[in-house]
Amino acid sequence: MTIHRVIRKVQRFEGWFGGGALLCLIAGLYLGLIGSPPDYYQGEVVRIMYIHVPLAHTSLLGYTILAAGSLWYLWKRDPIVDNMCQAVAALSAVFTALALGTGMIWGKPTWDTWWTWDARLTSFTVLLLILIGYLMLRTFVDDPEKEARYGAILAIVGFVDLPIIHFSVEWWRTLHQPQSISMRGVSISSGLLVPLLFMSVGMSLLFSYMLMVRTQLLYLDRLLHAKKGRLLSQFHLSKSDS
């Protein structure tokens, strides 16, 4: 049995992503926690931004990959693409939950509340619910082809939440502050921007690396199951022969 060429490629290049993520995150953590000044208004707690914002935008990146992958799957019907979709959904769910969690921890010392149902927080919670719904749906469908197809459709429908999340702080009245990097320009001075950039790049690389690992995991799992199934059927065949 041969391993899919995409997986072989992933195996060969994943180390670069993992290593790059580690280096960027070490640099970002050093700059974010030690090598950068506190904010004029928030003081030290601004450092939570360097972990919260990268987690949040990486989960949005993850969902974008999921939606694109789902379209691709519906077009090509390649099971390896579906493995990738399933992997990216689980990881996005984890990143989304962590973005919400770190956001809560940032909210308490700044806003003085852990949680409030403003448009940004609500739409982000909806993203988590969509991902949980997606993963749940997949466990309830027996036929792998149907499982992939239903999942893909749900993921594409759920994509409408992404522009809502992005523009929620611009369109509606929220407690959450607007985008710091927008059409208005960059509202973060360089001393605080550099650690944010390192953490963002590092987190995106980490996400990519984790995606590569998880896609492999799901693919290998499927491969092994198929193999076991075939061995089993061969076993049955030989038994009926005798």
Binding site: L29, T102, W106, P109, L217, L220, L224
Partner: protein, 160 residues
């Protein structure tokens, strides 16, 4: 000791070094005295006092000078502040004052405002953000390794 364990051991070591470095960097900002402690113990030299600006007591004179009372649990401390413009100073603000206690005049002479040690939030956010990811990644890489092993081992059956 596999390659995988060695790699994760390295990550673990880096994390430990990092935590120690960060703790050392902020250690001096953690300690502070309460107003009642200052009144009782009359400490000499530069100290840090944690308290709240009492309502109705703040009077500013010019950009970098202010007087107010710092409220603790059981005592208030008269404060005379002179230093850089206290940008975020207001009544009912909890803050750390850096300065010396003038026992003769019974006034705390502050020359700077420190940051309230709310590092717990920062530490909590970083732990919450990174620890689950590291654990998940570790579990996934281990599983991928064992899957490859299993597939390799089962090729014996395959090769007929």
């Amino acid at each position: 000791m596999t390659n995988l364990h060695r790699r994760w051991g390295g990550v673990f070591l880096v994390a430990i070094v990092f935590i120690v470095l960060t703790y050392n960097h902020y250690r001096d900002n953690l300690a502070s005295l309460a107003p009642e402690q200052v009144k009782q113990e009359t400490p000499a030299g530069e100290i840090r006092v944690l308290g709240m600006v009492q309502g109705g007591t703040l009077e500013t004179r010019g950009a970098g000078e202010a007087t107010f009372a710092l409220l603790g649990k059981s005592a208030t401390l008269p404060v005379h502040y002179q230093g850089p413009p206290p940008d975020n100073l207001r009544e009912l603000k909890i803050l750390i004052l850096i300065g010396t206690w003038n026992a003769d005049r019974q006034v705390f002479e502050a020359h700077d405002i420190g940051i309230v040690p709310n590092y717990g939030f920062i530490a909590g956010a970083y732990l919450l953000g990174l620890l689950p990811l590291a654990l998940l990644l570790f579990a996934m890489t281990r599983r991928v390794h064992s899957l490859y092993e299993e597939i390799k081992a089962s090729t014996l059956y395959e090769e007929e």
